[in-house]
């Protein structure tokens, strides 16, 4: 089922890209095509698959010859094509806690249904969430595959970098031992250079999307950095990020706004809603641009191709959802200021212990910095619980409130 979905996507997107006229936006289609091809490769059985936690170093795994993917990608994909509810029901019937994260529950349902290709190895990460760690461990148990757990420290000090870098060396040793696949230094250097090229384009994307009005179209950068992390270390990553950079540069130069009539800008916290919902069309209709997603901007320095392991470790530790909350609070406030937003939207994804725990403090930090926050209380994957009327009223009321504030803020400026 999932393989057919990806195959259809690839065919459709290839045709649309072939038909695209000069000047027509193609970055999002290029991104979607590469993501669909990644999905197809996972399900084709051609390359050895590694199911991973979301923070795994995917470029390092590419260098070893794996087709790696994080399990949340499955939940998001199935939610996107409306297939998540029966899998959620199945996972719950098999004992998954209905109050747990639905990205993970959907993945468990997919495992129970035999929809997930059997991996050669499973690589868990202890961050950003212990729920994800538990699900990846469960996946290894059910599929009877070797498991490696990366223990991601909660500190960003040099000692933490060294500790994590050492584990990454151990991971390479583990992969060689259990799969016979080894890492060639030349291949690793090539991969890191591709990662750095993609990173460079991503930094440019960050710079370009700071323009007011934003040159990015409303759905352009949905799920961007999370999925691009799966393409790092490959030409595909360079292609996708380069396509975005070029397109945004052109639009910024031509003063062509991504959203005609942008009147308000918001920061989107954590994840987007993955199923088709009226939220994004409504924001568009109300003239609200999502100027930046919390997880999109680059937070890590370039990686040294001659000694990449500390760089991989720094990248993992720099993720806003890793470590003490102070880092995340600084990050979101900096984004709100840098992207000149009017407020922030927190979907408050149901079942995300980390998001729920942080919610009040994120709320307070942004409010104290002068940015109102809308808490939507939705499940980003489970469409069964979506209450359209309530969500619509909250968004409209929030936009009315921001619009009332806008003249005062402009006067202050």
């Amino acid at each position: 089922m999932i393989r057919d979905h990806f195959a259809e996507l690839v065919t459709g997107l290839e045709a649309r890209l072939a038909d695209a006229g000069p000047g027509e936006p193609v970055a999002r289609k290029t991104f979607a095509l590469e993501a669909a091809q990644l999905g197809l490769r996972l399900f084709s059985g051609e390359a050895p698959v590694a199911w991973c936690g979301v923070l795994a170093p995917f470029d390092l795994l590419h260098a070893v010859g794996f087709e790696p993917c994080f399990v949340e990608f499955v939940g998001a994909t199935l939610a996107g094509n409306g297939a998540a509810p029966p899998l959620l029901q199945l996972a719950e019937a098999e004992g998954a806690d209905p109050t747990s994260c639905s990205f993970h529950r959907t993945a468990l349902g997919a495992v129970a249904s035999g929809l997930i290709p059997t991996p050669e190895v499973v690589i868990a990460t202890s961050a950003p969430c212990t729920g994800g760690l538990a699900v990846v461990e469960e996946l290894a148990r059910r599929l009877r595959r070797p498991l490696f757990v990366l223990n991601v420290p909660h500190s960003r000090h040099q000692a933490a970098v060294e500790y994590l870098a050492e584990q990454l060396h151990d991971l390479v040793g583990f992969l060689a031992e259990v799969t016979g696949r080894s890492l060639h230094p030349g291949r690793l250097r090539e991969v890191v250079e591709l990662t750095n090229r993609a990173r460079h384009a991503m930094v440019e994307i960050d710079r370009l999307t700071r323009h007011v009005p934003s040159p990015a179209r409303p759905r352009d950068l949905v799920n961007f950095a999370l999925v691009v992390s799966l393409l790092l270390g490959r030409e595909a990553g360079v292609r996708v990020t380069g396509a975005y950079r070029d397109e945004l540069e052109r639009r910024a130069r031509d003063r062509s706004p991504g959203l005609q009539g942008e009147r308000l800008r918001v920061l989107w916290l954590q994840n987007r809603i993955q199923f088709r919902s009226p939220v994004e069309p409504l924001l568009e209709e109300l003239g609200v641009a999502v100027a930046v997603d919390e997880l999109n901007p680059v937070t890590w320095p370039p990686i040294d191709p001659e000694d990449p392991f500390p760089g991989f470790a720094r990248r993992m530790l720099s993720t806003p959802l890793v470590g003490g909350l102070a880092h995340r609070l600084d990050h979101v406030v900096r984004l709100a200021r840098g992207y000149r937003v009017d407020g922030a939207v927190n979907p408050c994804h149901w079942g995300c212990r980390q998001g729920s725990g942080a919610r009040g403090l994120v709320d307070r930090a942004l409010r104290e910095a002068g940015f109102p926050v809308l808490n939507l209380e939705v499940d980003c994957v489970d469409q069964r619980t979506f209450a359209e009327g309530q969500v619509r009223t909250r968004i409209e009321a929030f936009v009315e409130m921001l619009a009332e504030r806008r003249p005062a803020r402009e006067l202050e400026a």
């Binding site: 409010r367 109102p372 808490n375 209380e377 619980t385 209450a387 009327g389 309530q390 009223t393 909250r394 409209e396 009321a397 009315e400 409130m401 009332e404 504030r405």
Partner: protein, 270 residues
């Protein structure tokens, strides 16, 4: 009646409310009808009734603004504005200086934080569940076999009030039935219900105003007619809770005032 009038229609889940104001923002007529299943018919009836009460025809209405969950379905409106903004506008006209407005309607409860000029600066709403709203009270009144308007004073004789173990409408209803069957005093049950609603509402208020000291708190929506809930909320907040004369028409009044503001801004002499 001379001069243009401005109509606010609040299409809620339990009631459909209409208020007509004149160009000075004075209320000319108002009405409240049960929404029922045929929302559009009710909107038409409410509109006709308020015009009849004002003694004018449809042509006298220069602009209409709709609010409430059915706001998008009202024809002939110049805008659909959310209940949050409309209730804030209405309460500021009736009780200037309000810092926090609690609005409990048929299936929504909201706490709205206002600044000194009556602008909304924050709001919080109940999540998915209608516990503690008008529908909840309807179900409890049914279980107690009393009329909803009578609930408000039934707790006057209560000494301590019972504690309900669940605020889920379904479970609370069956718990109330069990309590009645076991001979519990109705006054104590009602006091427990009011206190439970107040505790839940206090949580909403805290989300928009962490400190209650010195706050001017007002309440709107149909549940504000229940004196027991208002008393319990005031006790929970440690602040007086002021209720305007017609609390269920505050949203419609706000909508009418917004219609007036927008129409006069577009054409000062309509």
């Amino acid at each position: 009646m001379t001069g243009p009038l401005f109509l606010g229609l609040d299409v809620g889940s339990l009631s459909c409310d209409a208020v007509l104001v004149d160009r000075n923002g004075r209320s000319v007529a108002w009405t409240v009808l049960p929404t029922g299943a045929r929302v559009l018919d009710t909107v038409d009836r409410t509109r006709r009734e308020v015009l009849e009460l004002a003694g004018v025809g449809p042509a006298a209405v220069a602009a209409t603004v709709a609010t409430g969950y059915g706001r998008e379905r009202v024809e002939g409106r110049i805008a659909a504005v959310t209940e949050i903004t409309c209730h804030a506008r209405g309460i500021t006209a009736l009780l200037p200086g309000t810092d926090v407005l609690v609005d409990i309607g048929g299936q929504d409860s909201k706490a709205v934080r206002l600044d000194h000029s009556g602008r909304v600066v924050d709001f919080a709403m109940n999540d998915k569940c209608a516990a503690g709203t008008g529908r909840f009270l309807e179900a409890m009144a049914r279980a107690l076999e009393v009329d909803v308007p009578d609930l408000g004073d039934l707790d006057a004789e209560a000494r301590t009030g019972l504690t309900l173990s669940s605020m889920c409408t379904v479970f609370a209803e069956s718990e109330v039935v069990s309590l009645v069957a076991s001979g519990a005093d109705v006054a104590e049950i009602v006091a427990g219900l009011h206190r439970a609603i107040a505790a839940r509402t206090q949580g909403l208020v805290r989300r928009v105003a962490p400190q209650f000291d010195g706050l001017e708190v007002a309440m709107s929506g149909g549940v504000a007619r229940n004196r027991g809930v208002v008393r319990a909320l005031a006790a929970a907040l440690g602040r007086p809770v002021t209720v305007p004369d017609e609390p269920d028409t505050v949203g419609a009044l706000g909508a009418a005032l917004i219609a007036r503001d927008r129409a006069l801004a577009a054409d000062p002499a309509p």
